[in-house]
């Protein structure tokens, strides 16, 4: 178990999430809903998030397929950097729930956690090396200023010897967290563990 880090309202503790709207009763789910829940996440049947989204199973199915392919597919960009991208976007967007989940994943994959506190404190100065800095810079630019995003922003990745697939993997991770954060932040709220 890693150290508990808390700063600026963010934490790496395990949080719950509760929906603001009525969720599907897992015991009354249709066969299609069950199939999509099982394919989406191992704990989907006890998660308000998936039980809310499964009101529209086909949309959730395509979304989970895309998300899982972006975050878990082998090859290309190492998974720790994909998680750092996800964490940085969640920090920029203020998604406390997503930031906690992806801080934990990053710590597990990268075997380091000192950057997590600094991401929570101040993202702009959090990088521990040039590679972190390049990942955070691209995540911030593509999240905050899409219309200003240009080849110049990707040059920092090229300088770190990212190939095309690695670049695309980071673009995918950053972009899909624009999607994930909006679902988590707008359809419900995080639940903090009892003190």
């Amino acid at each position: 178990m890693s150290d508990v880090i808390k700063a600026n309202g963010f934490t790496n503790q395990t949080l719950g999430w509760k929906a603001w709207l009525d969720v599907v009763d897992a015991n009354a789910a249709t066969p299609e809903q069950n199939k999509v829940l099982e394919a989406s996440h191992p704990q989907a049947k006890t998660s308000d998030y998936y039980l809310l989204l499964v009101h529209e199973p086909h949309i959730l199915d395509q979304r989970s397929y895309t998300y899982n392919a972006i975050m878990y597919a082998p090859g290309g960009l190492n998974r720790a950097d994909r998680e750092l991208g996800a964490l940085a976007v969640s920090r920029v967007n203020g998604c406390v729930y997503c930031a906690s989940v992806h801080a934990q994943r990053f710590e597990q994959l990268a075997k380091r956690n000192e950057i997590v506190r600094d991401v929570f404190e101040d993202l702009a100065t959090a990088a521990k090396n040039e590679r972190d800095a390049a990942v955070i810079e691209v995540a911030t630019a593509l999240t905050r200023d899409v219309s200003g995003f240009d080849a110049d922003q990707l040059q920092v990745l090229k300088d770190q010897e990212f190939n095309e697939v690695e670049m695309l993997d980071l673009i995918h991770s950053v972009s899909v967290f624009g999607w994930a954060n909006r679902l988590m932040q707008n359809l419900g709220e995080p639940v903090f563990p009892a003190q």
């Binding site: 009101h55 895309t66 392919a69 995003f149 990707l154 095309e164 995918h172 950053v174």
Partner: protein, 170 residues
């Protein structure tokens, strides 16, 4: 899932071809490419309860607010093809949605603007407003997924454009 023969919207909009490294990187991540296209098709399926015309307007509004030229052009075309009057397309493109009197569409577009610009604006009250204007929970889930998808699609297109430009400059 789409068949190999059917066309990919993003490749079409950016004119990405198999001879480019950017196209080849997307092809290496074929599952992501197919899932992105299939998500687009699922969110604009005619049979969903939230009216398709409203969904085209949400997409048009989001892409024009984010100044995404290729997607704004695409969603303008789709809105007009769906039979939405030009005046309404213009109101949405010019960000004058307060002029729309239809309560449900008005609240859908106000919600879209807040969330596409800054997701931290989300709150429980905004969802209750949507429900009071006549949306069901299922409609709100579709709308939430649609706005989320658009935030993703707009960034992916911007990222791919930058990749291709970097490739062309090399």
């Amino acid at each position: 899932m789409q068949s190999a023969e059917s066309s990919d919207l993003i490749d079409t909009l950016l004119d990405l071809k198999p001879d480019s490294k950017t196209w080849q990187a997307r092809q290496f991540r074929e599952k992501v490419k197919n899932g992105t296209q299939a998500s687009y098709e699922a969110l604009f399926a005619p049979e969903l309860h939230l009216p398709l015309k409203d969904r085209w307007l949400v997409a048009l509004y989001a892409s024009s607010l984010m100044k995404a030229p290729e997607l704004t052009a695409h969603y303008t075309e789709q809105a007009l093809l769906a039979g939405i009057e030009e005046k309404l397309v213009q109101i949405v493109t010019e960000d004058h949605v307060e002029d729309i009197v239809k309560c449900e569409l008005n609240s859908v577009l106000q919600f879209t603007k807040k969330l596409i610009l800054d997701p931290i604006e989300g709150n429980e009250e905004a969802l209750l407003t949507l429900k009071e204007s006549g949306l069901s929970t299922q409609d709100v889930v579709v709308l939430g997924q649609l706005i989320g998808f658009l935030a993703y699609q707009i960034r992916l297109v911007a990222g791919l454009k930058a990749m291709r430009k970097l490739e062309d400059a090399a």
